[in-house]
């Protein structure tokens, strides 16, 4: 079956029948970037999905959705790891749902290490960060069509951020960055960690061949293509671009925990092949979901394909290089 955005919009607006296609959309903004008329299809899909979360085809049987759903009702529940760092700091680091991903993803990726590495890097930059304890940012709920839960999470998180007294919120996740800066109305500055890393002198000279996979939320949604590349170049890494890169970068296929089907798997396989062609030793990304799903695919294909590169988060890569852990 072919997906046609034009047909979907036509059916929805003219015949009012709706279409299942709205659940197949990756909301990766690639079509929006290409569209000569500037039709914001992902935004249309988001609005159409609103209130119909039951029809969503969720991966992992919706365990993350249920967790965030319960989080709304439980005062004490927090998604982040324990609060750490300087309590009176003006810089807060928000790890997002990394610890939950550690619990429910059986892929060979250590998600908590993203949070730890980010803290190490922020420490090195003398920012004296504080690790925040907040609830889930609600990105997935918003894009799955559960706006009621999203609004509650937004309200609760905004309150928690105001209480914490921070002035800058740093996040290492592309989805959290998009959600906190675009869909929340926060009175404080929200930055992605790569935007700090590009100007920081970490004293790394790694000389590793890497390739960078653009996360759709950081790249096309937020327009941040250069910061992650600059931080890699600054650390001495040789960045080789894949066939599809920057504005044309391919999606990992599972944004907002939906549609882990054969089509999105084919997308990931193509992406891995592209990374293999660059000859890079490490494939760097900035989104934990890209990391999880590309690693999962890489493990799945282990017996038939020979991918001799690692997939790492930007912060993990830089922190490992900083501490002198060389990849074998």
């Amino acid at each position: 079956m072919k997906t046609s955005p034009r047909n979907t919009i036509y059916q929805t607006n003219v015949y009012k029948t709706g279409s299942d296609d709205i659940w197949n959309c990756l909301t990766c903004n690639l079509c929006y970037d290409e569209c000569p008329q500037g039709v914001d299809y992902p935004e249309f899909v988001k609005e159409e999905r609103d209130g119909n979360v039951e029809s969503a085809d969720l991966v992992h049987k919706g365990v993350f959705t249920l967790l965030s759903d319960m989080m709304v009702d439980l005062d004490k529940s927090r998604t982040s790891l324990e609060e750490a760092g300087n309590k009176d700091s003006k810089v807060g680091y928000y790890p997002g749902c990394l610890d939950f991903q550690d619990m429910f993803f059986n892929v060979d990726a250590d998600f908590s290490s993203i949070a730890n590495s980010s803290m190490k890097l922020l420490d090195r930059m003398d920012l004296d960060p504080k690790r925040l304890q907040m609830k889930c940012c609600g990105h997935d709920q918003l894009w799955q069509g559960d706006r009621t839960t999203f609004d509650k999470l937004k309200e609760q998180n905004t309150k928690l951020i105001k209480e914490s007294g921070i002035e800058t919120l740093v996040t290492s996740c592309a989805e959290c960055y998009r959600t906190l800066s675009q869909d929340y109305d926060l009175p404080i500055k929200v930055v992605h960690i790569s935007q700090l890393l590009k100007d920081a002198d970490l004293g790394i000279d790694s000389n590793v061949d890497v390739t960078y996979h653009d996360a759709c939320r950081l790249g096309r949604h937020m327009g941040e293509y250069d910061a992650p590349r600059d931080s890699l170049t600054k650390a001495g890494a040789n960045v080789t671009e894949m066939a599809h890169t920057k504005e044309k970068a391919w999606c990992c296929g599972v944004s907002s925990m939906m549609n882990c089907n054969d089509k999105s798997k084919a997308l990931r396989k193509t992406r891995l092949d592209e990374a293999k062609k660059t000859g890079a030793k490490v494939m760097v990304t900035t989104c934990p979901k890209c990391l999880a799903h590309l690693t999962c695919m890489k493990n799945e294909l282990e017996s038939v394909e020979d991918y001799d590169f690692e997939i790492k988060d930007l912060t993990v890569f830089l922190a490992d290089e900083m501490e002198g852990k060389k990849d074998e």
Partner: protein, 143 residues
């Protein structure tokens, strides 16, 4: 607080595997071993059938405690199903602890011959949940 707890009758959802613990529950029944009536038993073919979503859904729908029972390690009808359960439940308890529900999930191995153990497990678990009080997701309680 204590007065409240005296009147509190928890809703407990129990998952039993077909081959060991459901037979264990059966044995407790035919042996006329008395245990509290707060639980509802759901029979599954193997304890590894229980997905994380089952447990989360149970809490969401108003369970005060969830008890998972299965064959002893090594006795699984499907060779190693309960080893997966064991692994999964550790993650599950971790996740629930972040929500303040960690103590409300319990895993116990009960064989088909352990009717007595089934009774004791039930009594202890109900006592534990009674001491903990109603689930924090209280407004969704079913009566």
């Amino acid at each position: 607080m204590t007065d409240l707890n005296l009147n509190f009758e928890p809703n407990i959802l129990t998952f039993c595997c077909n081959w060991c613990s459901y037979a264990g529950a059966d044995l407790a029944g035919v042996s006329r071993l008395q245990y509290p009536t707060n639980n509802r038993i759901v029979r599954v073919m193997c304890s590894s059938r229980i997905e994380p979503t089952f447990i989360l859904e149970a809490f969401k729908e108003g369970a005060d405690g969830v008890l998972i029972t299965g064959c002893h390690i090594g006795d699984c009808h499907y060779i190693e199903g309960n080893e997966h359960t064991d692994e999964r439940m550790k993650d599950m308890v971790n996740a629930l602890e972040r929500m303040g529900l960690g103590e409300r999930l319990h895993l116990e191995w009960v064989s088909a011959a352990e009717g007595k153990k089934f009774q004791e497990t039930m009594i202890n678990f109900v006592d534990k949940i009674k001491a903990l009080g109603p689930s924090p997701l209280e407004h969704k309680r079913v009566e």
